[in-house]
């Protein structure tokens, strides 16, 4: 009955999908702890977790576990931020990476490190929020504010991203100390996870994540157009302000901790919608889990491909996400969401 009344796919299948994602996440988390320049088998991982005297213990608890936790949190944040952004703009090409939000956060962080000598993570986080907010507003205004079409928004985002990226590179070239400090961070990396205070990442992501998921129902109304949404009792401006706030915290936190990672927020919601259909009540939680799976998988892959060294997770994401983006752009129906 539910299947025919509320449309495909049936709720039971969507619950199964969530469980499958949680399972995949558990497997990847174990892999993420086990894989690296010093590979471990499962007994070693276990003793590293439980036996304080084992030589695996410091590697597991100080390096691999924080890295895994950070990858999971940042992936979930980026996946949800992308889904929120696409729903809010009704633009299938929207992504906090492509629309300049992550680059804006990065540019602000680099500025603060170079000019003020910022070193604390709290400072980095706040500066990243500010940069993310400025970039998203700038992008929206350049694209023509309320008249922004998907194409204009994508172009404005490309411009803001290119400018921000050039700026980040320029500051780093001028200042070798900043460059050394942020070499991995600026391409998007989990290498420095052990230096990041995890509660300060997980806290904001959980708060903004909960707020973001609560927007699912009004976003479902907004999907029918601004006028229809107003008719249904949603104020599109209030909803957009709330959405931008959530996206700024999600993308800003992820960027402060791991650097600017693009394409996660773009790819994840597309893959998710193909399975769940357009109901945001499912798209948003699915995007969180799938984002975490995607980023952890990319990080593990980067460590396997370039052993004993590693490829930064931001590079792996771009290598996977770039072709997917081109595929989306070349599709005929891309503008409808």
């Amino acid at each position: 009955m539910t299947a025919t009344a509320t449309g495909a796919p049936p709720t039971s299948r969507r619950v199964q999908g969530l469980l499958a994602l949680a399972g995949a996440l558990a497997v990847l988390a174990v892999l993420s702890v086990a894989v690296g320049s010093r590979a471990m088998n499962l007994p070693e991982v276990w003793s590293g977790l439980t036996d304080t005297a084992s030589d695996a213990y410091p590697v597991v608890t100080q390096m691999r576990l924080p890295r895994t936790a950070l990858g999971l949190t940042a992936g979930a944040a980026l996946g949800l931020a992308g889904a929120l952004m696409q729903a809010m703009t009704r633009n299938p090409l929207a992504d906090p990476g492509l629309l300049g939000v992550n680059t804006g956060a990065a540019a602000a962080v680099v500025t603060a490190v170079h000019f003020i000598g910022l070193t604390t993570f709290t400072g980095t986080l706040l500066v990243a929020f500010a940069g993310a907010a400025i970039a998203s507003v700038a992008c929206y205004l350049i694209a023509g504010a309320a008249g922004a079409t998907p194409a204009r928004l994508a172009l404005a985002g490309a411009a803001v991203t290119a400018a921000g990226y050039a700026y980040v590179s320029a500051v780093q070239l001028l200042d070798t100390a900043t460059l050394e400090q942020m070499r991995f961070w600026s391409v998007g990396s989990l290498v420095t996870a052990h230096t990041v205070p995890l509660p300060m990442v997980i806290g904001p992501v959980l708060a903004a994540g909960a707020a973001g998921v609560l927007l699912a129902r009004p976003l479902n109304a907004l999907a029918l157009g601004d006028a229809t949404a107003t008719g249904l009792g949603v104020d599109p401006r209030v909803l957009r302000v709330a959405g931008i706030a959530a996206i700024t915290v999600l993308a800003g936190t992820a960027t402060a901790a791991c650097g600017p990672i693009v394409f996660v927020g773009l790819v994840v919601p597309h893959v998710v919608r193909a399975y769940t259909g357009p109901d945001q009540n499912w798209v948003l939680p699915y995007s969180m889990l799938t984002g975490a799976v995607f980023l952890l998988a990319a990080d593990v892959l980067g460590r396997v491909l370039a052993r004993p060294s590693e490829l930064q997770v931001g590079i792996v994401c771009a290598v996977v996400g770039g072709p997917f983006f081109l595929y989306l752009v070349s599709r005929r129906k891309v503008a409808r969401l």
């Binding site: 025919t4 009344a5 509320t6 449309g7 495909a8 009704r90 609560l214 129902r217 009004p218 479902n220 109304a221 999907a223 029918l224 157009g225 601004d226 006028a227 229809t228 107003t230 008719g231 249904l232 009792g233 949603v234 104020d235 919608r273 259909g277 357009p278 109901d279 129906k333 409808r336 969401l337």
Partner: protein
């Protein structure tokens, strides 16, 4: 001097886009229980008026009143329980099914703690029944014909269960059969007690289906009243600059506008 039976009205409202005012000092009352149709030439301000009534456009001066109170001073959700809207060219997300789209009309009746209920389910089923889209429930909206799609959108607005329903050019882009189908559906909704307001382009359809006409030109109301009083050769010429004769519609006895032939009479060959 106010009309006590008007649930929705504008009071001395200036409405427009940005700094360009389409209508200035416009006062219009929508009579309760009528099927009001707003007519007029392109750019006369009829859609702008509908948008102001639907609160998607805020007047820069004056007020829009719902049940005698400023519509913008009321919570948008409580307005949504009184007033439904079918805008021009609404968009449906890719892959949404008919049942899911109609179900979204329940939004103003739900809340954080009040999730989907048996009542919602029943209202959605009833709305699909009334618009004859029940058989399409599991189909994707993007697979439907234009006429079917418009019926689905009307079903969504019906699921909102509002006594007032505003429709902005509901027949645009439909072929004649589907136009009549949608208008018959509107007449049926009106007969069952809803107050309807629609913007229509076709004067003859307006004369046939409306119980109350508002004729506009240059942002102002030129005439309003029952179609038999409004659709006269003089008023049509005044509103549309169209010389015409009016005859009785042989089917419904409503006024039928026949434009005069403007071709010059044949000239005898020299």
């Amino acid at each position: 001097m106010t009309v006590p039976t008007s649930p929705l009205s504008t009071a001395n409202a200036t409405i427009g886009y940005g700094r360009v005012a389409v209508s200035e000092g416009l006062t219009v009352d929508i009579p309760e229980g009528e099927f009001t149709v707003i007519i007029g030439p392109n750019a006369c301000g009829k859609s702008t008026l509908l948008k102001a009534l639907a609160r998607t456009l805020r007047p820069s001066a004056g007020r829009v009143l719902l049940d005698g109170r400023d519509i913008h001073a009321q919570s948008t959700r409580s307005v949504a329980k009184r007033l439904g809207l079918l805008p021009q060219g609404p968009t449906a997300p890719d892959g949404i099914t008919v049942a899911d789209l109609v179900a979204r009309g329940r939004y103003p009746h739900q809340g954080l703690l009040r999730q989907w209920s048996a009542e919602d389910e029943a209202v959605v089923a009833e709305a699909m029944e009334a618009t004859a889209v029940t058989d399409l429930a599991a189909r994707g909206v993007d697979e439907l014909s234009g006429g079917q799609r418009q019926r689905v959108w009307i079903a969504m607005a019906l699921a909102q269960q509002t006594p007032l329903l505003l429709l902005d050019e509901p027949t645009t882009y439909l072929d004649i059969t589907h136009q009549i189908e949608v208008l018959d559906l509107c007449a049926e909704l009106h007969r069952k007690g809803r107050t309807l307001v629609a913007v229509l382009h076709d004067l003859n359809q307006a004369a046939r289906y409306a119980t109350h006409l508002i004729a506009m030109r240059d942002g102002a109301v030129v005439a309003e009243g029952p179609p038999a009083d409004i659709v006269t050769a003089d008023i049509v010429d005044e509103v549309f600059d169209l010389p015409c004769v009016i005859i009785d519609d042989p089917e419904t006895a409503t006024p039928l506008v026949i434009p005069r032939s403007v071709r010059p009479a044949p000239v005898a060959a020299v």
